[in-house]
Every structure is written in C-alpha cells, then in structure tokens.
Assembly symmetry: C2
Homo-oligomer: 333 residues x 2
C-alpha cells in the first residue's frame, strides 16, 4: 500500500475562494474489492460550477462536505482491476476525488480510447463541456439558420464549443470575452463572426446592438450579472436565453441584484431556461456521438489551458474566476 495526497475542502469560501480554503492530507489507498479498480489520476477538470458545491445550500447537487475530498470530472489510468470490464492500462473518465490515486467502483467509470482523441478531450469537447454546449444550444436555444447567437464567456470551455456548433448550424455568432487576445482567438479559431471585449467596452448595451444589427435571437449565457443585463436590451421577439452559468455572481457574498427581467420577457415574448447537463443524461450518448463525428470531420477545434502538477489544482480553480483560462481549464497530474 502506498501513501497518496488528497485535496479536501477546508472552509466554505466567503466571496472569492482562497488557497487557504483547501487542505492537503495524505492517506493510504484502500484495498481493492471485487468490482473495484485502483486508479491513478491523469487529468483533473476544474470548473466554475464547483464553486456552488462549496457552499452549504440546496442546489441541483449535494454540497461538498468539509474535510472531505473535492470531486470533479477526471481522466485516470487503471493500475489494478478486480472488475472484468477494465484492465490495467485502460483509461477512464468519471467524477473522481482530488487524489493522486483512488479505489472506486468500476461501474461508475466510462472507458475512453486514447487513440480516438487525446485523453484531455474527454473532459472537454467530448465530455461534460461539449455536452453542455451541445444540448444547451440545440435543445434550449432551438436555433434556426441565419439567426444571431450571442455568447457570454465565449472564450471559456463551453463558449468555444458553442460558437463552433453555432457555425455548423448556420448562425451568425457574436462572442463576449475579457481580453483582446481571447477575442482574436474566438474569431480566428472558434467560428465567431464578431467579438466584444467587455473589459475595454464602456457601453455594453450599445456594443451588443452594434455587433448584432438584427438583434439577438439566442443568448447563450455563461456569466450572468451586468453583461446579461446589457444583453436583455438587445433580445428579439421570441428569443431564447440559455442560462448555462453565472460565473460573475458565484462569488457574491450578498444575493446579487440585476435589472428585472420580467418586463423584457413580456415585451419580447422571450424565454430564459436554466439547465444542468445531468438533465440530459439519457441523451448523453447521442451528444457524444455527434461531437465525436464533428471532431473527426475537423469541424470542431478545442482550446485547453493545462496546468501541471497535482499541487496546483486549487490554484487552477481560483484562476477560473480571474479569466486566466482560454477554453477548458485542466490540471495534468
């Protein structure tokens, strides 16, 4: 038996999370039982939604327990197996603890093929990120060819995929991001027709109006807050807002306030729909197949920001809230 490192939640963050909210401990790896595998963590996904699990409030998913390991999407290598479906050397994805190694039930894992796509892609474009982009845009956004799609957090993990799917579906796509470099990237690599740097733009309402001369038919919202207020002034009749994320308010210490959406929704017969990717679990295979096909056809590019080293997982998570990632943020262990 070997001693391995674990990252626990030490404190429930107040406002912006700090490194001191995380705690490193060591423990021995448990012994394998029938149906279990021993895994070595390869890639760890850090995601804005994890912030929601760090508070003790009712949500769509259980809050993390204090002094217990944090859990997120990971790719891992099978070191030992007592399950007939998996062998040593296989790679798997699943919701795993932030541990260098761990024992878990094989049935909770999904085997992935490192020859079909790079392993990290299974946490991004072929994983929860890609599925979130795909179902949010197609099922909630209900796109029609020629419509205008506005995306906030356009240079993030989900946003970079949303833009490309939008392009495949024949939409005109405008993205909002926080640096000129990101704007350049989404236009040159991810199918965006126009980009708005919200950090250097004084009047977002007017900037969106200018970038979307026919108005906004679909608003794919990853950020909430003031950017989404500005978007409201530009929505078209019968427009759809896909409420995917609200990273701008996840660290708020008081209940955030915004312009009342109701009068806008009435005026424009417009909808807003929230979702999480678990809602579509019965349709995940369909989504993954479509994304894999587009990837193979070269229609889908992806961007990753990969940090190195198990010890850097908490910092990588904190960096999300500073917008330091382009595309999917991962840690290679």
């Amino acid at each position: 038996m070997s001693t391995i490192k674990t990252i626990n939640l030490k404190n429930r963050p107040q406002g912006k999370p700090q490194l001191s909210d995380f705690d490193f401990t060591t423990a021995e790896v448990a012994e394998l039982k029938e149906g279990e595998v021993l895994l070595k963590t390869t890639y760890v996904s850090v995601d804005p939604y994890l912030r929601g699990r760090m508070v003790d409030a009712e949500s769509y998913i259980e809050p993390f327990e204090l002094n217990k390991p944090i859990v997120s999407g990971c790719v891992a290598e099978v070191l030992e197996s007592k399950d007939s479906a998996l062998s040593a050397g296989d790679f798997v994805t699943g919701l795993l603890e932030w541990k260098e190694q761990q024992v878990t039930k094989a049935e909770q894992l999904k085997k992935v093929d490192p020859n079909q796509a790079p392993l990290s892609a299974y946490l991004g474009v072929l994983g929860a990120t890609g599925l979130t982009a795909y179902f949010g845009l197609t099922d909630i956004g209900k796109p029609n060819k020629g419509e205008t799609l506005l995306v906030s957090g356009a240079a993030g993990a989900v946003g970079t995929v949303v833009g490309q799917i939008g392009k495949i579906l024949g939409l005109r796509i405008v993205g909002i991001a926080g640096t000129d470099e990101k704007i350049e990237m989404i236009k040159s690599e991810f199918g965006y027709d126009e980009g708005i740097n919200y950090k250097t733009t004084g009047n977002m309402k007017e900037a969106i109006a200018k970038a979307c001369p026919d108005g906004v038919d679909i608003y794919y919202d990853n950020v909430g807050g003031e950017i989404s207020e500005a978007a409201l002034f530009n929505i078209n009749k019968f427009s759809r807002t896909v409420v995917c994320g609200a990273i701008s308010v996840y660290n708020a210490t008081e209940m955030p306030k915004s312009i009342s959406v109701q009068p806008f929704l009435i005026k424009k017969s417009s909808s807003m729909q929230g979702f999480v990717i678990f809602d579509y679990k019965d349709r995940h295979p369909e989504g993954i197949q479509q994304l894999a096909t587009w990837l193979k056809e070269g229609k889908l590019q992806y961007e990753e920001t990969i940090q190195e080293g198990f010890d850097n997982i908490p910092q990588a998570f904190l960096d999300l809230f500073e917008g330091k990632n382009k595309g999917k943020m991962l840690v290679k262990v």
Copy 2:
C-alpha cells in the same frame, strides 16, 4: 352629425399615472363610408398593459400618440352600418378608441351574441383576459395533474380565470392577493386551495413555502417585483414561470432591480417565458371555444368590477394600480 366625447392621452405619465395625464375633447363623428359602421360604446376594458403603451418606448405594440385617443378592448353597439356583415342593433368587440361613438371598419370587429353570454364577458372570460389565462397556463405552464400552481395577482382579471382552469386541470392552486376579502373570494369562488395576503404577510418566502409544501411547479406571474423574488426561492426542479404581467413595476421611474434569477434557474433547471396574447392569435378560436364550453358547463365563474359612466374611464384605469378591482375591471358607458 352629433358631437361626442373622446379621451386623449395628454401627457406620458411619470411614475403613477394621474387624472391630469388624460384630456377630454369633443368632436363630430365622421361620415360613414362603404364597409364602415357607426358604433356606440357599451363597455370599455381598462387593463394594466395600457400603462406600457403610454410611454414612448419600443414594445410589442405601438405607443399611444400624445393628444390622440387611447385605445383598448371594447364592446359596442352598431348604430348604422354600410357593411353587409353587420346591422344596426348588433353588438361587436374590437380594439376601439375611448370615444362615446366612433366610425370604424367593420372588418376589424367581431360580432358577439348577447344571448350566449353577458356582453361584458366578451371583454373578460371570453376575451383577451380568458385567452391570456388559458394559453399562458396550458401552453407555457405545461401543467401536469397534481402539480402545484402559484398565481400572483390571483384576484385580478387573469388570476381568477387561471385558478379555475388550474382546478379543471387537476392542480393544487395557491393565490397571492392584497386583501383578506380577495383571499376569501379566490378560495370560495375561483378554485384556490390556499391564499396569501401579501400586504399582511411579513416573510413571503416562508409563507409561500408553507402554502406550497411540495414546492411550486408552475408560477403564473402577474406582478413581478418582490413577490416574484419570494416565489423564486420556492420553485421546483423543472418548474415553469409564466411571465404574464409585472404590474408592480409598470409605474417604476427607474429601471427596477430584483434578485438575479439566473442562479435559481440553473439550480432548478427552471424556465421563465414571457408572452402576449397576440402571439396566439391563430389559436384564439380554439381558446374561445374551450372557454365558452367551460362557461356553459358552469365550470368557469367570473368576477367583474364595473364602474359607470364614460367620464370615469381614466379613474377606473388608475384604480387598477391600487388593486381596487376584483376580477375584470370595466366601465359601462
């Protein structure tokens, strides 16, 4: 030719509308041309949405022009006709000017039968009010038997119909209104299982939780503002909010702010959808037929607050914002 009275919009109201925002003028009635009828106004509908037409802002409908007559749903009697479809003595409904008499094109009118239902019902339960309740609840609310329906503005024109349709469809129904008398009325006459008087309730969030022990599956929102904030804390997974009206903010002089809805919508995979009854114009006949059937079967009651006299139309409109109406507010000319 006779001289008749007209009510014009004199000023665009700032905040709460005042009697001084309206102006009475007199004019002669125009001469009848082919295809036109001379009408004598019988009932005038006053509605919260008219407030939106009094400001000069882009909306789903043109703003009223200053020094021109206000227009709303009316029932009128045909005095003279130069159209083969209508004869003197017929009654019609349509969007008409606030005038004692007027000449208009017959093709813009719908003939109604005073023997099938009282004339005033064609502005309420068999008119835009009933259709708003019907399509909002059935098409946007997507009700399933046994679910909990929360209705704000429950004692108003739309709310009293929504409750009864909800009861017909097998829902548990909780209404919010502003007097104990209204709460008593919605429970005894309009199918509500529970009622909450928001003016005497300190903590609306808790009051809704108590009245809706299984949470809120459908929130039919006529008011917006703080009441809708309290509702947000009680919505269920996959719940639907029907955004019908926002009377609490129509007179706001600054852009009203509310708790950000996005985090709630994500947590609960919940939707909000605004609409206006024009969106369903192709389906109006279906709606009216269903409402008329329920009315005939005695499943639909309706409440009216009828004020008397042409000169009292502006005051009746102002009274809406004080909640002085029970059910549909009308003026009998």
